[in-house]
């Protein structure tokens, strides 16, 4: 039995549907992420699991028990808020002790557990500090320690890393993964940052307008997006219109207006004559000066623009039909930052098993 089960949950505000018939389940010990742009319903979903809001229809079950009649304070579910919501009038130690105090734990046990918990998040020396006296990353760790101290069944994290700067965020991501592994508690993480979701999660549910567009492992989501929204939302991707010329069991022949046909991986359900889009990641597109690429999917174009960001450079190449394709190239030669100039005639190519035909 799954730890948490969401069954056909609906939540509407007036005519606006915040969550529209969503179902999924979270396993014990899983790091599960709800990913989507703001207003997609991910936070509403989280608040319903926490108990701050109730679904208009559907069920939320924890360990097989319907949570409908259990108020937020009685649910074995804790939340780490985006603002951390640390109690400003309590010290770090008092903040962390709060859930135990509310549960009526005796003072001696609280003392021992708080000490362990402070060690877990490496804040032993900050026990007697007030929240306004510690840094953002430390606040984050206090919020985590407070949420985990009485070992909930489930920890909900609402944009929990959103308030940190980029460097600290990366560090906290690693800490978060380790912490989750150590405590073995299921995490449900809500974020709009796709890179964060990919880095942290066992599984990700991509949401849009109250619905789940795709639920998969990070690598599947990135490599095999189900539709254009997911393809576009996760990472960078090139998308252009194509028509299916031939649909075989082991390959597809696709045609793009003005540049001709090429081979793509098969997709079940694709039929000859079908209109759709071809999606391919920039790092899967090879870019070269001469016709020295031994790949069959090969098109010539002109470099229109490039973006140098240190480790890699993204070249924007215009194909003969006017389509702009991005190709990513690692700057592997020391001292050399650019392989092509704007205006250079180049060849773009990709393997016949790269990319994906999308029909929605």
């Amino acid at each position: 039995m799954a730890l948490l089960e969401i069954r056909n949950v609906i939540r509407r505000y007036g005519a606006l549907a915040a969550v529209e018939d969503v179902s999924f389940s979270v396993e014990a010990g899983e790091f599960f992420t709800l990913l989507g742009p703001s207003g997609c319903g991910k936070t509403t979903l989280l608040r319903m699991i926490a108990g701050f809001e109730s679904p208009d229809a559907g069920q939320i079950l924890l360990d097989g028990i319907d949570l409908a009649d259990i108020p937020a304070e009685k649910r074995p579910v804790h939340t780490v808020f985006q603002s951390y919501a640390l109690f400003p009038h309590m010290t770090v130690a008092e903040n962390i002790a709060f859930p135990l105090k509310m549960a009526g734990t005796d003072a001696q046990t609280i003392k021992i557990r708080v000490k362990q918990s402070l060690a877990e998040v490496r804040l032993e020396d900050k026990a007697d500090h007030y929240p306004h006296e510690i840094s953002g990353g430390q606040k984050q760790r206090v919020a985590l320690a407070r949420g985990l101290i009485n070992r909930p069944r489930l920890l909900l994290l609402d944009e929990a890393l959103g308030a940190l700067d980029a460097k600290l965020r990366e560090k906290m991501q690693i800490e978060l993964i380790n912490l989750q592994k150590n405590v073995g508690i299921s995490f449900i993480f809500v974020t709009h940052a796709q890179d964060e979701a990919l880095a942290l999660s066992h599984r990700i549910a991509v949401m849009r307008e109250g619905r789940i567009e795709q639920l998969d492992e990070p690598s599947k989501l990135y490599g095999f997006p189900r539709n254009r929204f997911v393809a576009d939302f996760i990472g960078n991707i090139n998308l252009f219109e194509v028509e299916v010329k031939e649909a075989a069991a082991s390959y597809l022949r696709l045609a793009a207006a003005g540049i001709g046909e090429f081979t793509a991986p098969p997709r079940s359900g694709a039929k000859a004559g079908e209109q759709g889009w071809f999606a391919i990641r920039p790092e899967q597109v090879r870019i070269a000066r001469h016709h020295d690429i031994e790949l069959k999917n090969r098109f010539s174009g002109k470099v229109r623009d490039f973006l140098y960001i240190g480790d890699v450079t993204t070249y924007k190449v215009e194909l003969e039909n006017g389509t702009l394709i991005e190709a990513l190239m690692a700057n592997f030669e020391p001292g050399r930052t650019m392989f092509f100039q704007v205006g250079d005639a180049v060849t773009l190519a990709w393997r016949h098993d790269a990319g994906r035909f999308l029909n929605e």
Partner: protein, 293 residues
């Protein structure tokens, strides 16, 4: 600092400084000196210098501490101020909380309603209570009706400590409510969500989060009620009986009744010292609260 800055500083700071010097520091000094002088033969003050020597005495202070009757008025006034403060707190807190948590659209309107009574003269409002509490009023008759039905003797509401307390609470309620509202309105609602999420019941959320965070508001509200009530003389005079005089009445009588100015000054100074001590204590407590907020 440039010459222009210095000039600007004096132009902005000078007038209020001068005002306080003339209308606060100077009168205070006069009162302090007056408390050490002899009363004049026909009231007022005896000459400060007689035969080239300062004509000063500690007699009024000795007099105050020699008769417990004056200390008793002080204690009674303190009791009245404390009771008024606590009742105001009890009445204002729920209202302030309700406004602060209520619909944003109506907040300003509700706050306006709270301060609206200030628009009419406070003496008129106090006289209104004379009518409400008077023996012929519907309120009095209703109360005595119930008492009579239960077999108790009827009570007189007006000209009693009860009437004074009602008047005090009524007049000072907004002074408690406004600082409380100003504080409660700033509370982050996420803290209550967090507390609930972490297992706190409704009562625990109030007692562990809202109340401690509101303490600075409670302290400043308490100071704004306690201190004026301590010196109030109009309300006891209008609504109180002969036995309900407070420090304020005592001081007023020394100046306008018995015309013993030195003793009146002494009473004023002692009251000021006590109030300063209270205000200092309140400020210290409120700083303790602010440090964590």
């Amino acid at each position: 600092m440039s010459k222009r800055d210095r000039l600007l500083k004096w132009l902005t700071g000078g007038p209020p400084f001068l005002f306080l010097l003339v209308f606060f520091v100077a009168p205070s000094l006069i009162v302090i000196v007056a408390s050490f002088r002899f009363p004049g033969e026909y009231g007022g003050l005896a000459p400060l210098i007689v035969d080239g020597k300062a004509n000063l005495t500690l007699e009024t202070y000795r007099f105050f501490f020699s008769d417990f009757i004056y200390a008793r008025v002080f204690i009674k006034s303190f009791g009245m101020a404390l009771a008024t403060t606590l009742i105001c707190l009890g009445l204002a807190y729920p209202v302030a909380l309700l406004i602060a948590r209520g619909n944003k659209k109506f907040r300003d309107l509700l706050v306006l309603l709270v301060v609206l009574p200030f628009a009419s003269n406070f003496l008129i409002r106090t006289y209104a209570w004379m009518i409400i509490l008077g023996p012929q009023s519907a309120f009095s008759r209703a109360i005595n009706g119930v008492l009579g039905w239960c077999g108790f003797a009827p009570v007189t509401l007006l000209f009693s400590s009860f009437a004074v307390l009602v008047g005090m609470v009524y007049v000072h309620l907004p002074f408690m409510l406004l600082p409380l509202y100003a504080n409660l309105e700033k509370h982050d609602p996420a803290l209550l969500d967090a507390a609930q999420d972490l297992g706190a019941s409704a009562w625990q959320r109030f007692w562990r989060v809202t109340w401690p965070l509101s303490l600075p508001g409670v302290y400043s509200g308490a100071a704004l009620v306690f201190i004026p009530v301590l010196g109030m003389f109009a309300i006891p005079e209008i609504l109180g009986g002969t036995g309900d005089i407070l420090i304020g009445n005592l001081i007023k009588d020394q100046f306008l009744g018995t015309r013993d100015w030195p003793f009146g000054s002494t009473l004023s100074i002692l009251l000021t010292l006590v109030v300063l001590a209270c205000a200092g204590l309140a400020a210290w407590f409120s700083r303790q609260g602010v440090r964590h907020a």
